[in-house]
């Protein structure tokens, strides 16, 4: 009577997976004053939003998302990166009629190949999930960032207008409405 023998193969893998995402946009800063002065005014506004200055750039980190603004060009770069340590272990069983010998080895080989394929699929699935998480994080930061930066640009522009007006002549009257964002400056030339 022939017997069937169970063959069990176990594979484990350790991988480090990385997901990243980035997007770039441009601030609209009016050139009312020389570039360096506008950059300084913008830097002051961005500092109030939690940005830190590093040379000619303003940087803010929100969790895994980094926002970098180049003060000279107004270029805004958002990037998100996350690494994850992945440990995967899979076990698979098959049957063979030959406990020792070629048939058992063949069955083991086939099972190992199937396990390797399953592990690769598992890694790919985890990669996709991690990518989705990073994308979602970047999206949520992006949603609020546009209006934040618009307000900062508007305040920097208002400050630049005041300086420009003072350069042109004597300021007689200045009216500012924070709710609507309007600014009226009367200058005597």
């Amino acid at each position: 009577m022939s017997r069937a023998y169970r063959v069990t193969v176990k594979e484990s893998a350790r991988r480090v997976i990385r997901a990243e995402d980035c997007v770039r946009t441009q601030l609209e800063v009016l050139g009312l004053l020389p570039c360096e002065q506008m950059a300084e005014l913008l830097a002051i506004e961005l500092t109030q939003l939690g940005f830190l200055r590093e040379g000619g750039q303003m940087i803010r980190d929100e969790g895994k998302v980094r926002t970098m603004i180049d003060l000279a060009s107004g270029m805004v770069d958002l990037s998100a990166v996350e690494d994850q340590d992945l440990e995967l272990e899979r076990k698979k069983s098959g049957m063979t009629r030959d406990d020792r010998g070629q048939t058992r080895k063949q069955v083991e080989e086939i099972l190992k190949q199937q396990l390797a394929h399953e592990i690769d699929e598992g890694v790919e699935r985890s990669q996709g999930e991690l990518q989705q998480q990073i994308t979602d994080k970047l999206e949520s930061v992006l949603r609020d960032l546009r209006s934040e930066l618009d307000h900062a640009c508007n305040r920097a522009t208002a400050a630049a207008l005041k300086i420009k007006a003072a350069q042109m002549g004597q300021i007689k009257e200045m009216m500012e409405d924070p709710s609507s964002g309007s600014l009226t400056i009367v200058v005597e030339l």
Binding site: D21, C22, V23, T25, I134, L138, L142, R146
Partner: protein
């Protein structure tokens, strides 16, 4: 009485359909019917082809937009009226070469997306030998058969791949092409070629509206990007040539079509209602949206010309062109149009 063979009759029916802008159904059966290439065409058939080309293309261009009264720039002067009022007759002539006859024969013989005949395919000579009349006929054929996949392979080969009129009106035809031909729009900004562009302005505007509708139906981000690449390539080359040759009047169709497309846009989502970007990350989405915004970018470019034109004085070079641009800009509500275009670009720039 003239006597023609069945093949020649089909060829003439197709030609009539093409030049009269008839609905494709009127000559579809002739296009898809299996035909054997004849050794040559009869004298009667050739004479009828000549008559159809001579009279038919004139009617075709007239119906396309030549009848409309407009203001255009010619050698730094402003001319007004319809096409034959602002152009002396000797400048309106179109000549045709054997390339037109060959194209018509190939069109009659070809069935269901066949490749072009080998003697024509991959032949740069085919493009070099084409006259203006040949080019216009190629464009008319492409326009007439737009609904059929019949010539889809032909657009990847000469002479159609380098036909600037087709590239301008139908950049989507080249979306699947593996190689780009060099488009020389500068040559189209002067002489009789420019006059053809003037006549086709309304048709180009319709094409832009068609492209806008097409883009709104696309769900695949890859297709949007492909189309955007070709649109950008064509618009950039065209606008650069128009700027260099001081023919802003030949870009009027961009403003007119832009007005129609952007004036109804209350939300950026209306541009790509069917687009599925759920599987893309943010940077890929941004790239996709940007590639679909060729028209707003072109409008902003013309807006920059308008801004510069405001500082051109009476004794400065380009005064007449600047005056034309200022008047056209006002007519189409250019300032509001530009605001719309900038708003779309700003929203698409970081659209998640």
């Amino acid at each position: 009485m003239r006597v023609v063979s069945q093949f020649e009759n089909d060829l003439l029916r197709i030609l009539q359909g093409v030049v009269s802008r008839a609905p494709i159904d009127q000559f579809r059966s002739q296009l898809v019917r299996k035909q054997l290439r004849p050794k040559c065409l009869g004298r009667d058939a050739v004479e009828l082809i000549e008559q159809s080309l001579a009279a038919g293309l004139v009617m075709r261009m007239t119906r396309s937009g030549a009848w409309q009264s407009g203001r255009h720039l010619r050698a730094g002067r402003l001319v007004q009226g319809n096409l034959w009022q602002r152009t002396p007759p000797h400048e309106l002539g179109l000549s045709f070469s054997a390339a037109s006859i060959d194209l018509l024969v190939d069109l009659t013989v070809t069935q269901n997306c066949d490749s072009m005949p080998s003697r024509v395919a991959n032949s740069n000579q085919a493009a070099i030998d084409c006259t203006l009349g040949d080019r216009v006929l190629q464009y008319c054929i492409a326009h007439a058969t737009a609904e059929l996949p019949l010539l889809s392979e032909w657009y990847r080969q000469e002479p159609l791949i380098s036909n600037e009129l087709i590239a301008l009106a139908m950049p989507d035809r080249y979306a699947a092409a593996e190689a780009f031909a060099v488009l020389d729009f500068e040559a189209w900004m002067t002489g009789t070629k420019a006059i053809m562009l003037e006549a086709l302005q309304p048709e180009f505007g319709e094409s832009m509206l068609r492209l806008g509708h097409l883009k709104s139906q696309l769900a695949d981000p890859g297709q949007v990007e492909q189309l955007g690449i070709h649109e950008d390539r064509v618009f950039n080359a065209y606008l650069t040539a128009a700027r260099k040759q001081r023919r802003p009047d030949l870009c009027q169709f961009i403003l007119v079509a832009g007005n129609q497309l952007l004036s109804n846009t209350t939300s950026v989502r209306q541009w790509f209602p069917c687009l599925d970007v759920s599987k893309l990350n943010v940077s890929q989405r941004a790239a996709t949206y940007r590639s679909g915004a060729s028209l707003p970018r072109a409008i902003c470019q013309i807006g920059d010309w308008h801004r510069e034109s405001r500082s051109i004085g009476y004794f400065d070079e380009g005064y007449v062109e600047s005056q034309w641009l200022k008047s056209c800009w006002e007519q189409v509500g250019g300032n509001q149009l530009r605001q719309q275009a900038e708003r779309v670009l700003k929203e698409l720039d970081v659209q998640a």
